[in-house]
């Protein structure tokens, strides 16, 4: 990536002269102007950068960085961001980082180089020092980053508490949480909330990867070693895996085992029996993140920096009806 300094050096003029040429402001000799334009071409100095400097305009692009769009939590989030962006005349560039620091870093660099107007980041690298050096507005979605970066999350601690209370209220008294990776703060909160309300009814607390195959292993491990009648899965994919393993083992849901998930993705409706879950307002979270970002891009004041939306129980058929509880 060439810089304005290299352009100045190759054209044998000052940086100020390059800037004057690009901004079409102030006096520049025809010879210097030609030299600068030739240097820009020779060095492959980014045309968008030139255009931006020339006209001080927006690119109309927003970068959306997700771990993996095939994780079924993210399509709805991406859809909401794209809908809101579209409404305001922005386009969304989709980036998948696989939670790899290096990949995230590269994406941020190339997005900055193509002059995106802002970034929406769902990342685990909450202490990535790069964020402080990024010049465009950022909003963090589903994660809390450091400092003054606006965030949109949901109340996972309350969600965990609600899950435990719901299972207790519906007659389960031997409770297990199958948590996601506990190094993720948003996941840890769900577990902590659940454990607090479960109290003496907590039988075990097991960690599982977020992907389905890993969750199958976690569920098999659980059923091999523990007896329980109520499970809180830290996301709906883990819940689906738990239900599949229970079905293979002939454990009746919800009669012998009640299961409650977390997220509220469409998957929960598609499995049999349909999944009771703690639903995040995923679409609204994506919408709000995009709205906050666009407000920041357009230089507007935003009311609050950290937005934590509420979650709610969606009762389906993996838990007992209240009147069946005893």
């Amino acid at each position: 990536m060439s810089t304005i300094r290299e352009v100045a050096k190759v054209a044998n003029v000052s940086v100020a002269t390059v800037s004057r040429v690009m901004n079409e402001k102030g006096y520049v000799s025809e010879k210097a102007r030609v030299a600068v334009l030739q240097a820009i071409k020779q060095l492959d100095y980014r045309p968008n950068r030139v255009a931006r400097s020339l006209f001080q305009k927006r690119s109309g692009l927003i970068g959306l960085i997700v771990p993996d769009i095939t994780n079924p939590y993210f399509p709805q989030l991406a859809r909401a961001v794209e809908d809101m962006a579209h409404k305001h005349g922005y386009q969304v560039i989709l980036c998948n980082t696989d939670e790899q620091f290096q990949k995230e870093h590269e994406y941020i660099q190339s997005l900055e180089a193509m002059h995106v107007d802002g970034l929406i980041i769902t990342t685990n690298y909450s202490n990535n020092p790069n964020y402080e050096t990024i010049e465009v507005p950022i909003v963090a979605l589903d994660r809390v980053l450091q400092g003054a970066i606006p965030t949109v999350t949901s109340n996972g601690y309350d969600g965990g508490k609600k899950a435990a209370q719901f299972l207790l209220d519906h007659g389960a008294d031997e409770l297990v949480v199958i948590s996601g990776p506990s190094k993720l703060p948003t996941i840890k909160k769900r577990r902590d909330g659940f454990e607090e309300v479960a109290g003496k009814h907590l039988v075990a607390s097991i960690e599982s990867p977020f992907h389905f195959q890993g969750a199958l292993d976690a569920a098999n491990y659980l059923f091999d070693h523990y007896t329980c009648n109520g499970i809180f899965a830290a996301n709906d994919v883990i819940a689906a895996a738990t239900i599949q393993v229970a079905a293979e083992r002939g454990i009746a849901i919800p009669e012998q085992l009640q299961v409650i998930g977390y997220d509220g993705i469409e998957l929960g409706q598609m499995i049999s029996p349909p999944l009771t879950t703690i639903a995040q307002p995923i679409y609204q979270m994506g919408e709000l993140a995009a709205k906050l970002l666009i407000q920041r891009i357009e230089g507007k004041e935003i009311a609050a920096v950290h937005h934590e939306l509420t979650v709610e129980v969606i009762e389906r058929e993996t838990t007992k009806r209240k009147d069946e509880q005893i």
Copy 2:
């Protein structure tokens, strides 16, 4: 969106003069040059267009137009496109059209205005006259467009035949196809292939929307009016809905009813029992589409225009084992 003609009109010069200013080629009086630059600013003529004309460079952007990223078929496709694009230094702009002609039209216009280098389109508007006027390379994915536009699809006709043969081979003899919208050529082929092989064993051919709620209605309608022991669902979402309705009605799968889906999305593994399905090579299709597009963008010859990939049966637990068939 302003055009070069409007710029010329406002600047009171010819289009050729505007072009000369933008290309920094040929003689232009200083007065005309200033007038053109002012007109460009006044009309908000897109800076990328200017930059592109100035330097004849690529934007590094690929537009990916899908009906809806929350339809679980598309995330894997989008992921594959993005992976391949990333490998070649391109970024992917995600657009959701909801299968609305007007929305698709608007997206194509704004993507062209921001000078994407190419477009990957999964669309139902196979006769959209706009495609012929698009100046950048296009590849059609999961759909066949008219003319010389390269396409990547899978062999749905063969998939339908394989589904029927598999059910017959595993002891089902009263067959139903729950098709998707038959106005879609790729869907019609799946149904046609199935019907051909099912022959005298075909009990009914029912059309369902692709979304889960609509598919629940279709399955209920089917079970209310027909008796069958083998169902081919035109996608995995319809299969999941069919299995859920069967479970609610106490129909044992696969003992009383065998079900086979189509697509091979991860959902099929997550439901209980796990779904036997005709798998498209979704990731490879996305990869190939992106690869073909990049070859076209970079001016390389592409070997063939229409690529139809093969599909295969993934046997899971919604169909009987061969030795259980009688």
